[in-house]
Symmetry: C2
Subunit: 219 residues, 2 copies
């Protein structure tokens, strides 16, 4: 079996691969809050296990085996988040941290039971897709909120899950995945967004908007 650290590396490589494309040692180390030298060491270990491909100074890529494990961990994480949220009422700004610890120790059996309880869901409380048992991920075609213009309507698809304070902030406006809103005004010079959520007028700063992804954009 893999160590927790190895699982975290695989998960992080997968996520960075999605976001940035090429995954360098430095980017990976920064993401995991370790030094580049530590990342190099783990990459070497994962390479001997045939879970990653790596050429010196050229970054890492997951092998099929590595990707399968990464998706399994991500599935654990997101199912746990949703379970904690729905079954135990843990606030959505707390589920990430909790799931981060549980994802490495939960059994496939318990996971299957949570999955059944939740009705085989496809997204976690932040809107991120939950890979199925075979590692198949259904990708949504969402765009960053910062791409919206005045007058456009849309639905929140996903928000980033790591910043607890941000999530509390969004929660105070009811800005959850599935929530519809309309852009009233985009302030010039990279300014904030004024939006309408269920009749309420709310101002969302640009830095915050970067962490919100939307769907179903209409004029």
């Amino acid at each position: 079996m893999l160590t927790h650290a190895a699982e975290d590396y695989l998960k992080s490589i997968y996520k960075l691969q999605e976001k940035v494309g090429k995954v360098s040692t430095g980017i990976l180390a920064e993401y995991l809050n370790v030094k580049p030298a530590s990342a190099t060491g783990m990459i070497k270990k994962l390479k001997t296990m045939q879970l990653v491909k790596h050429e010196r100074y050229q970054g890492v890529t997951l092998t099929d085996a590595g990707k399968a494990i990464a998706l399994e961990i991500i599935r654990h994480h997101r199912l746990l988040e949703l379970y904690l949220f729905k079954a135990l009422g843990v606030p959505w700004d707390g589920v990430h941290e909790e799931a981060e610890k549980l994802e490495h120790v939960i059994s496939e059996d318990v996971e299957a039971r949570m999955d059944e309880f939740l009705g085989y869901p496809t997204a976690d409380p932040h809107g991120a897709p939950i890979p199925d048992k075979n590692g198949v991920v259904i990708k949504r075609m969402s765009i960053p909120m910062t791409d919206l213009c005045s007058g456009q309507s849309c639905v929140v698809a996903e928000v980033s899950d790591t910043d607890s304070a941000l999530l509390r902030h969004l929660g105070s406006f009811n800005l959850y995945p599935g929530t519809a809103f309309r852009v009233i005004e985009v302030a010039p010079f990279e300014g904030p967004f004024t939006i309408d959520i269920a009749g309420q007028q709310v101002v969302i700063g640009r830095e915050v908007a970067k962490h919100i992804f939307v769907d179903d954009v209409k004029e």
Copy 2:
């Protein structure tokens, strides 16, 4: 914060203290499936943290601080067992192993939510008492089934939780905590027990009976 290993040592010392009284290095090592030398090492570490008292060759005792941590871990374990059993339908012969991993990573917040969901229970699926938030344990006055004589009636109070095969065996007779039965016959020369459970006649071997503790004994 303590390591998982340190938590396991404290928990084991507590349990052995209950069962055997004096806890020697050798007993502790055997219980934890490590070598005596390893136990000595951890005992030293726990001593510097003032969680145990230890005189060379004289065995270990928990300090109040150590006992508090031991009871906290035991509370985690038993609440998790009951939660997995009741909320997710994990069979009672599987909850111990699962809880063994989760007990070290579950937060106080999630634990409190499980506790509420379960209605502040006082016993786990095997009948073991769940310490409350302040580490108070309500002890039951149960006796081993092997002390019973022909004709006596009783109620199952507790069964040992570590042997999964034993639990499946007991489950097949509906021999859960709370189940009442009457001893029909005790075979001589340390032989098996024949009992009546809800009209069904069942034979329980002496080795199995040693792991069953009963309450409410009547003639």
